[in-house]
Amino acid sequence: MNGFVTGVANWFIGIGEATRGGITRLGFATRFLLAVIRASGSTFLRPRLLIKELYHAGVLSLIIVLMSGLFIGMVLALQGYETLVRFGATEAMGVLVALSLVRELGPVVAGLLFASRAGSAITAEIGLMKTTEQLAAMEVMAVDPVARVVAPRFWAGVISLPLLAALFSTLGIYGGYLVGVKLIGIDGGAFWGQMQAAVDWRYDVLNGVIKSIVFAVAVSLIAVFEGYDATPTAEGVSAATTRTVVTSALVILALDFVLTVFMFRGSI
C-alpha cells in the first residue's frame, strides 16, 4: 500500500517536473527568439550570409516540395472527381483543388516537408557546430554566434517557407488541372472559371500566405533553437534533430487549427 502511494506520488512529481521543464524550455525559446531578432541587423546588412542559407533552406528543398505538390494536386483531383461526379458537380473540381491547397494543404504540407528537409538540417548543422566548439570559438573571437550563425538560418527559413508553400499550391493546382482537364476531360474553362469565382484573393490566398509565414517563423525558430540548445554530443545532436521534426509537425498542425478557426470561422 505504502509502495503504491509512493509510486503515485512519484508519478505526479514526474508530471510536475516534466511540465516545469517544458515551460522553462518554452521561456528559453521565447528569449532566444528575441535574441535572434535583436541580432538580425547584421543578417540583412550582409546579404551574402543570407543568400548562402537561402540556398540550403530553400533551393535544396525545391525538388521535394515541387514533386509533392504536383502529386498531391493530382491525387486531390482524382479523389475529388470520385465524389463530385455523384452530385454532377465535376466542374467544381477547380474550386475543390484550389481551396484545399491554398487554404490548408499548401502551408501545412510544405511546412511539414520543410521541417523534415531543411529544419532538421539546420538543427544538425548548428548542433554540430556547438559540439565541435565552433560556436564557442566564435564567441571568443568576439563574434556573436547568434548573429553570425543563427540569425541568417532563421531568416532564410522565414523567407523560404512562404515561397515554397506558394510553389507547392501552384504545382498542386497544375497537377489538379492535368488530371481533371487533360486526363478526365472536365472543361478547362469551367475548371478555371469556377475556381476564380470561388477563391477570394484576400480571404483565401492571403490567409494561406499568412498561415505559411506563421509556420515559417515557428519551424525556423524550432530548428535553430533545438540546434543551439542541443546537448553537445553526437547523441545529443541526433536527438535534437528528431525533436525538431516532431515538434515542428505538432506545432504546425496545432497552429493550423488555431489559425483556421480565426481566419475561416465566418464561412463555417
Binding site: Y55, V102, L163, Q196, D200, W201, R202, S267
Partner: protein, 171 residues
C-alpha cells in the same frame, strides 16, 4: 559550390516563388476583379429571414454576378436581418429594385438576386433597398404542404389564411 552558382539558384528560387504567389493571387484568387470591386458601392437591405445566406455569397442580377454580400447583422429592434451588399461600380440599379434570396439548386449555396424595377432614380452608396423577399425555407414549405393536405382532407376546403407568410413580399 561556386558563389555565382549559389546566387543564380537562389535568384531562380526567389523569382519562381514570387511568381507562384502572383499566380495564386491573380489567376486563382482573381485579384484583378477585386480592383473593380473596390471602386464599387454598398447598399443595405432588410430580410425577415436570410436562411443560410453567408458573408461573401454572390449577388446576382439575371444570373450575372454583380457583387458580394459584405456583412450580415441582426437588427436588435425589429429582429430583421440587415444585409450589407457590395456592388460593382458599373452596375447601377433603380431605387425600386427587389432583393430576393435564392438557392442555387435544391441544396446548393444561397445568393442574393436583384430584380431591377422601373424607377429612373438609381441607388446610391449607403442607401437601402426597400423591397426584399426572404429565403424560402424548405422545412416551412414542407410543413405547410402537409398542413394544407391534412386540412383539405378533413374540411374539403383549402386553407389559405397564413400560408405564404415566409415568402411574402414586404411592402
Amino acid at each position: 559550390m561556386n558563389k555565382r552558382t549559389v546566387d543564380l539558384w537562389v535568384g531562380i528560387f526567389v523569382a519562381i516563388g514570387i511568381a507562384a504567389l502572383f499566380f495564386l493571387a491573380l489567376k486563382v484568387g482573381n485579384l484583378l476583379n477585386f480592383k473593380e470591386e473596390k471602386n464599387g458601392y454598398e447598399v443595405m437591405v432588410r430580410f425577415d429571414n436570410i436562411g443560410n445566406l453567408k458573408a461573401r455569397a454572390p449577388v446576382k442580377s439575371a444570373g450575372v454576378v454583380v457583387g458580394r454580400v459584405e456583412r450580415i447583422r441582426l437588427d436588435p429592434k425589429t429582429y430583421e436581418a440587415t444585409v450589407r451588399i457590395h456592388l460593382e461600380k458599373n452596375f447601377q440599379f433603380p431605387k425600386d429594385t427587389i432583393a430576393t434570396i435564392f438557392t442555387s439548386g435544391l441544396l446548393g449555396e444561397q445568393f442574393v438576386g436583384l430584380e431591377a424595377g422601373g424607377d429612373s432614380v438609381m441607388l446610391q452608396d449607403e442607401e437601402w433597398i426597400k423591397k426584399s423577399q426572404s429565403a424560402i425555407q424548405i422545412e416551412k414549405l414542407i410543413s405547410q404542404f402537409l398542413f394544407n393536405q391534412a386540412q383539405s382532407g378533413s374540411n374539403g376546403a383549402p386553407a389559405n389564411g397564413n400560408a405564404p407568410a415566409a415568402a411574402g413580399v414586404k411592402p
